[in-house]
């Protein structure tokens, strides 16, 4: 248990003040629904690029990267770094010019322009479900962390409030803050805040990693990571290196290339050039992000495990016994990572290998508490809240844009005034926040497995990548073909989870990943590959049997038919392609440090 000093509270208050003041300052610039939903398409590339990174560092990723670092060692760095960077570079170089150039407001709207209504509605619905559930899961993950850290306890006791209310009050306060600045300043306020949140997270995590490296020493951390890697898939060594990068690539590329929650940041750029640059800037920053966020995992493992100790000292003839009690979960854990206790017996649960099952998610937050003294601790808590808020804000802005542009405007009320759509967008934001809070409440109260549900939806949206690629690069792809392919892909992606409800058992591990607890990355990866493959095959077969769209209708929507900006040829080293290649080479070099 840690008590916050007045310096900690002051830092937290300053952070909240600036988060709100950004919303208040931008309030004056929001006049139309375009200002509100697309930030007026006026932001410079660096803001969009840093927001692109920050959106992808929501609560689940902030905690999850450290957790995988503790669970799989340095393999997690390859998974999050080499797995993500190719997708980000591809999105920047090839997809952004079309998403941005088509003037579509959202990704489903772009698919609607290329493939018609049905594909647009299906992709919008999948995105809405994913965004609501994962926002709920992020709130739930943070609720668990704040319940375990006890940082706000003293405040509640001082005011005579029930300690059971700590978690709901913290979450409601964070959600309300996000909602207020989004309602005031729209997407621009969300993006500006995400940049701020990025700097807060970096400023809090850097000293933790530096102190951890100094405290345990590089060799101890390396050996802790190596012993963790042996538990993971593909083991240590170069085979595991390649496998981790490949798994990351399959699992994340669809997210970087089709998920509107990230792409909305680049689509708010002021011009096509900046929109194309934003994901490249994000990839350049991402070179260091997984290192910074995964390292806390192995560092937490390498710390000494706390034990209950007893001290005896005598003072003026009186003998004092001082007992330093370590909670049983901490004592049964490894380093600063506690064990998972069986709620019925209070004994630690056993993992498959006979070792204690560890609560890896606590690695990063426990490390913040372990190393940061009063003062910096306030910044650490602000960083945890910043992660929660950046992900939640991205979900809310994506939901209100997709609902307003892709469901309300075309199907519920056409040709209303712009002010009407602006109001609808704002009410949708309120509804989205309430839904996410409700989902989180259900998870806390009734034990809903929100993380599995959010994961399920993310897998359902993975086949969208095939539809986008077909739309942008294959002229012959037709609307019925794309829809049939997407339907087949989504059905394939959902099948293992649905079947798993009925046919669980070790023989069908591939089929049963939903019902048998946390999904193994390899199983999810196979599901996604099957769904993508079937989407391609079905779309291909159906497209060839239907009449092709005339080329005139595809102008600006396809790579080969996009207008090429006429400008003086720049030297090769100034082109975005050269930058992308340099980022990729640097990524491989950095990762080779962590074999």
């Amino acid at each position: 248990m840690a008590n916050l000093t007045s310096a900690d509270w002051l830092i937290l208050l300053i952070y909240f003040f600036f988060a709100l003041s950004i919303g208040l300052t931008l309030k004056g610039t929001v006049k139309t629904s375009r200002d509100y939903l697309q930030a007026g398409r006026s932001l410079p590339a660096w803001i969009c690029g840093l927001a692109f990174v920050s959106v992808s560092l929501g609560a689940q990723q902030l905690l999850g990267m450290g957790a995988s670092g503790a669970q799989y060692g340095f393999r997690a760095i390859q998974f999050f770094s080499l797995g993500a960077i190719p997708g980000m570079l591809f999105a920047g170089l090839f997809l952004m010019p079309l998403y941005y150039g088509s003037n579509a407001r959202t990704v489903p709207e772009f698919l609607g322009l290329r493939f018609g209504k049905s594909t647009r509605v299906v992709s919008a619905c999948v995105l809405l479900a994913t965004a609501v559930l994962s926002a709920g899961a992020a709130l739930y993950a943070m609720a668990r962390i704040f319940a375990a850290l006890h940082v706000f306890d003293s405040l509640f006791y001082a005011h005579g409030l029930q300690p059971a209310n700590i978690v709901p009050v913290t979450l409601l306060a964070a959600a309300a803050l996000v909602l207020v600045y989004v309602l005031l300043g729209g997407l621009a306020a969300a993006l500006y805040n995400q940049v701020l949140q990025f700097f807060v997270m970096a400023a809090a995590l850097l000293p933790v990693v530096l102190l951890g490296l100094r405290g345990s020493g590089w060799s101890a951390i390396k050996s802790a990571a190596a012993s963790a890697a042996e538990r993971g898939p593909g083991h240590a060594g170069f085979g595991g290196f390649v496998l981790a990068a490949l798994l990351g690539f399959v699992l994340s590329t669809s997210y970087w290339c089709t998920d509107f929650r990230v792409l909305q940041t680049a689509m708010a750029a002021k011009d096509a050039e900046s929109a194309r640059k934003a994901p490249l800037i994000a990839a350049a920053v991402w070179l260091l992000v997984p290192v910074l966020l995964v390292l806390p995992g192995p560092i937490a493992l390498a710390l000494p495990t706390p034990h209950t100790t007893e001290f005896v000292r005598s003072e003026n003839g009186t003998i004092y016994h001082e007992i330093d009690v370590a909670p049983p979960a901490d004592e049964a854990g490894q380093g600063a990572v506690p064990a998972v206790l069986d709620p019925a017996t209070g004994k630690p649960l056993r993992a498959a290998g006979g070792t204690n099952l560890l609560d890896y998610t606590m690695a990063t937050p426990n490390l913040l508490l372990h190393f940061l003294p009063g003062g910096l601790l306030g910044l650490g808590i602000a960083a945890l809240l910043a992660g929660l808020m950046s992900g939640a804000a991205a979900a809310i802005t994506a939901i209100h844009a997709v609902f307003t542009c892709d469901l309300y405007q075309p199907f519920i009320r056409r040709n209303a005034s712009d002010g009407h759509y602006l109001a609808v967008a704002r009410w949708t934001a309120v509804g989205a926040a309430l839904l996410a809070l409700g989902a989180c409440g259900a998870a806390l109260r009734f034990g809903w497995k929100l993380e599995s549900l959010a994961m399920f939806c993310a897998v359902l949206s993975a086949p969208l990548l095939a539809t986008v690629l077909l739309g942008m690069f294959w002229k012959r792809a037709t609307a019925p073909g794309a829809f049939a392919g997407l339907a087949a892909g989504i059905a394939t992606a959902g099948l293992p989870a649905v079947l798993g409800r009925f046919a669980s058992g070790p023989r069908f591990s591939w089929v049963a990943w939903m019902s048998s607890g946390p999904a193994r990355p390899v199983d999810v990866c196979l599901t996604i590959l099957a769904a993508l493959g079937l989407n391609f095959v079905v779309a291909f077969a159906v497209s060839l049997r239907t009449t092709a769209q005339p080329e005139a209708e595809l102008a600006g929507l396809m790579h080969s038919l996009a207008p090429r900006p006429a400008r003086a040829p720049s030297p090769w080293w100034k082109r975005p392609e050269a930058l992308a290649a340099a980022i990729l080479i640097t990524a491989v070099a950095i990762n080779l440090l962590f074999v």
């Binding site: 400023a203 003294p373 003062g375 910096l376």
Partner: protein, 75 residues
């Protein structure tokens, strides 16, 4: 838009950096507080880093914003 984001980021980190530096100076002798951070006064080490970052952001942001406002005034 008349808000260069570097200005609020700079202001925030200047304030946080100042608080951490002052708090670190005030608690320099408090070895119980810094037992966590390996006996290093982490506030006094990291506060100035954030302060310098904040001031740099503020300077560059102010310069860009002045240029922006001048440009808008000419129009």
């Amino acid at each position: 838009m008349h808000l260069d984001l570097r200005v609020p980021i700079g202001m925030m980190f200047t304030m946080i950096g100042t608080i951490l530096t002052a708090f670190g100076l005030g608690t320099r002798a408090d070895s119980a507080l810094y037992a966590k951070s390996l006996g290093i006064d982490a506030n006094l080490c990291w506060g100035p880093v954030l302060l310098v970052f904040g001031i740099a952001m503020l300077v560059f942001g102010r310069r860009a914003q002045m240029r922006l406002e001048k440009g808008a005034a000419k129009k």
